[in-house]
């Protein structure tokens, strides 16, 4: 029997048992829908990681202090870095292009119109280069402004929007915790949030100014900085650079071999990936749900096909008596199972796409809908149909025509 004929025979048989067929495919529908949501989220997460790494630069390392865990106990306070250390490392490590320190303080911004609570970060003039940060309006401060401790401020896009509205903030006078500053630039929006905080709700100011005027000095380390960013030459092995940096820092901070580090070095790739761990966990859960649904759904298909073979034993006998080969019977039932699964797969695809869109709007996870999702849905349901349809189809094909004809 030709494939086309087998296909129509299968459709006809399924139509005769419409409701039963639909219920049978429920497991497949749920399974395929889970697969689609999973792949859409996985693709979306991968795409967003790639985009962020590309934008932030794959050759940047962030260093910040951490408490040192020793004998199971967290010991001491965060040990800050010093500018001296940072510049020494810049000279020592061969592939460093630029560095910037970072010291932050919570401030209240007072402008002519309104007050605004935000974070001010003291950084070096190299910050736009190191962090790949564009200035949308006005200028960033220069190296001399940092050394001389000028009270210049470059504000984030959120502050421009919320405090100054449509009018450019460049040239405006503001007070940060009662210290007067002049706004000289506005940063381009990054559109990111980190740990629930808007990355554009920030003010950048010269490092020395922030430390002296806003963050407060700390006597043991007069030139302290909270964290450091190292930009390396493109194309170097970032993991090797990270190892070198860690070794140099351990030496600088007098950490004995065997002792734990009291700092952490993160590459932005790992940084960004860590942020996507939640969506990854969710993907694994969905994968498990998809696997179980497809297994249960497949067993459902197998069960209903076995019922169908039993119900139609006489039909099978008749078909054999009028010339159907075992292969024809086998193909007929296999196609029936595959068609059943594919119908379920297509319904599941539609449900999965709907679910993926619902999740982006609820969880703010990026999804990526690709044409390949359709192929994944079809191939997966085909595979389930073939795997679970095989046994019933073989049962049908192995019937003896005489017994099948006589079956009541």
């Amino acid at each position: 029997m030709s494939f086309v004929n087998s296909f129509f025979t299968a459709l006809q048989a399924l139509r005769l048992n419409g409701l039963r067929s639909l219920l049978t495919t429920l497991g497949i529908i749920i399974g395929i829908a889970s697969v689609i949501v999973m792949v859409a989220i996985g693709n979306g997460a991968r795409k967003s990681v790639e985009e962020q790494i590309e934008r932030l630069g794959s050759s940047m390392l962030t260093v910040f202090p951490s408490t040192r865990a020793s004998r199971g106990q967290a010991s001491g306070r965060f040990m800050p870095f010093s500018e001296k250390t940072m510049y020494a490392l810049e000279l020592e490590l061969p592939d460093v292009l630029a560095v910037t320190g970072d010291i932050s303080a919570q401030v209240t911004l007072v402008s002519a119109e309104t007050d605004w609570a935000t974070t001010v970060r003291g950084v070096n003039a190299t910050y736009p280069l190191v962090r790949n940060q564009l200035v949308a309006d006005g200028d960033f401060f220069a190296a001399e402004d940092v050394t001389s401790g000028r009270r210049y401020a470059v504000i984030g896009a959120t502050i421009q929007r919320e405090v100054f509205g449509e009018i450019s903030a460049v040239g405006a006078s503001i007070r940060l915790n009662n210290v007067p500053f002049e706004v000289i630039g506005v940063l381009a929006a990054t559109g990111e949030t980190f740990r629930g905080r808007d990355s554009d709700d920030v003010i950048l100011a010269p490092l020395k100014t922030v430390r002296d005027r806003l963050a407060g000095n700390w006597r043991p380390v007069p030139d302290r900085i909270d964290s450091m960013y190292f930009l390396f030459r493109q194309g170097i092995d970032i993991d090797e650079a990270k190892a070198d940096l860690e070794t140099a820092l351990r030496l600088d901070r007098n950490i004995e071999p065997g002792q734990n580090d009291n700092f952490r070095v993160l590459s932005f790739a790992s940084f960004v990936q860590a942020r996507n761990e939640t969506s990854k966990t969710f993907s694994y859960l969905l994968a498990a749900a998809a696997g179980i649904s497809l297994l249960v759904g497949g067993i459902g298909i197998m069960n209903i096909m076995l019922v169908s073979v039993t119900e139609r034993t006489r039909e099978i006998g008749l078909r054999m008596a009028i010339g159907a080969r075992r292969r024809d019977i086998m193909i007929q039932f296999l196609i029936e199972a595959v068609v059943l699964c594919t119908i379920g797969g297509l319904i599941g695809l539609a449900l999965g796409l709907g679910g993926a869109y619902a999740i982006t709007s609820l969880a703010e996870w990026e999804i990526l809908i690709e044409p390949s999702l359709v192929i994944i849905a079809i191939v997966t349901s085909l595979a389930v149909g073939i795997v679970f349809g095989f046994f019933p189809a073989r049962q049908a094909a192995r019937l003896s025509p005489i017994d099948a004809l006589r079956y009541e």
């Binding site: 004929n5 005769l16 008749l318 078909r319 054999m320 009028i322 010339g323 005489i402």
Partner: protein, 231 residues
């Protein structure tokens, strides 16, 4: 006339509950092309077994059986399927039509298991329905047809591949006597056009309408009566 069925020392032996059952116990006969023959016998006589063999649904334990010149002992399952498809047409007591499928599609069914276009299959199926006088009912489902009409559809299905042999297993068993006569009349007409008809029955009245009666009992042929000899 050429022999379309040649049986020589045919044995079919089953083991049932440790006991040997000889369903066919050394049967030899020929059926020639164009014959209209009935195989008679009480239940357990081996007539169903014999029918299954002639229909290539079953193979003998020993002995030789040739159908349309081919030795079925040497045939693969696919060859046997092809033989059932092209050389033999089955007619059953319970008609065995597919419910919820039109008369036309039922008749077309054997053509789907051989090469050929769907258009050609439709033309041949309509022609077969015309031969049994049901071309105006081709869009009816079996449930919309009388028993006699259903059996005619089944006969059309058996005819559609122009088989050498039509093998009918108690074809009138589910029909009233008038309809039975009509069906036997139809067989007789088909036989006049050269189709070999083999009817398996336990009814003497049905057998009397054929031209040769082969009587079986306990796996043996006990009589082979021909019309020309009887008359």
């Amino acid at each position: 006339m050429e022999a379309v069925v040649t049986c020589r020392e045919l044995y079919k032996i089953y083991t049932m509950g440790g006991q040997e059952v000889r369903a066919l116990d050394g049967v030899s006969f020929d059926i020639h092309e164009g014959e209209f023959i009935s195989i008679m016998g009480p239940s357990g006589s081996g007539k169903s077994t014999l029918m299954n063999m002639i229909g290539a649904l079953d193979v003998p334990t020993t002995g030789s059986l040739r159908i349309a010149g081919e030795d079925i002992a040497t045939m693969t399952p696919d060859d046997l399927a092809s033989l059932r498809n092209r050389t033999v047409g089955f007619v059953f007591q319970q008609f065995n039509l597919l419910r919820r499928t039109t008369a036309l599609d039922n008749v077309k069914l054997p053509l789907l298991y051989r090469d050929g276009s769907l258009d050609e299959a439709k033309i041949r199926a309509i022609e077969a329905l015309r031969r049994v006088g049901l071309e105006d009912r081709m869009d009816h489902h079996p449930s919309q047809l009388s028993g006699g009409q259903q059996q005619r559809v089944a006969i059309a299905r058996a005819l559609v591949n122009n088989p050498k042999i039509i093998l009918a297993d108690e074809p009138t068993g589910a029909l009233d006597s008038q309809t039975s006569e009509d069906i036997m009349q139809l067989f007789s007409e088909l036989n006049d056009h050269g189709v070999t008809i083999i009817v398996v029955t336990h009814e003497q009245e049905v057998a009397d309408l054929t031209r040769r009666i082969l009587r079986l009992r306990d796996g043996h042929i006990i009589a082979d009566e021909r019309e020309d000899l009887v008359a």
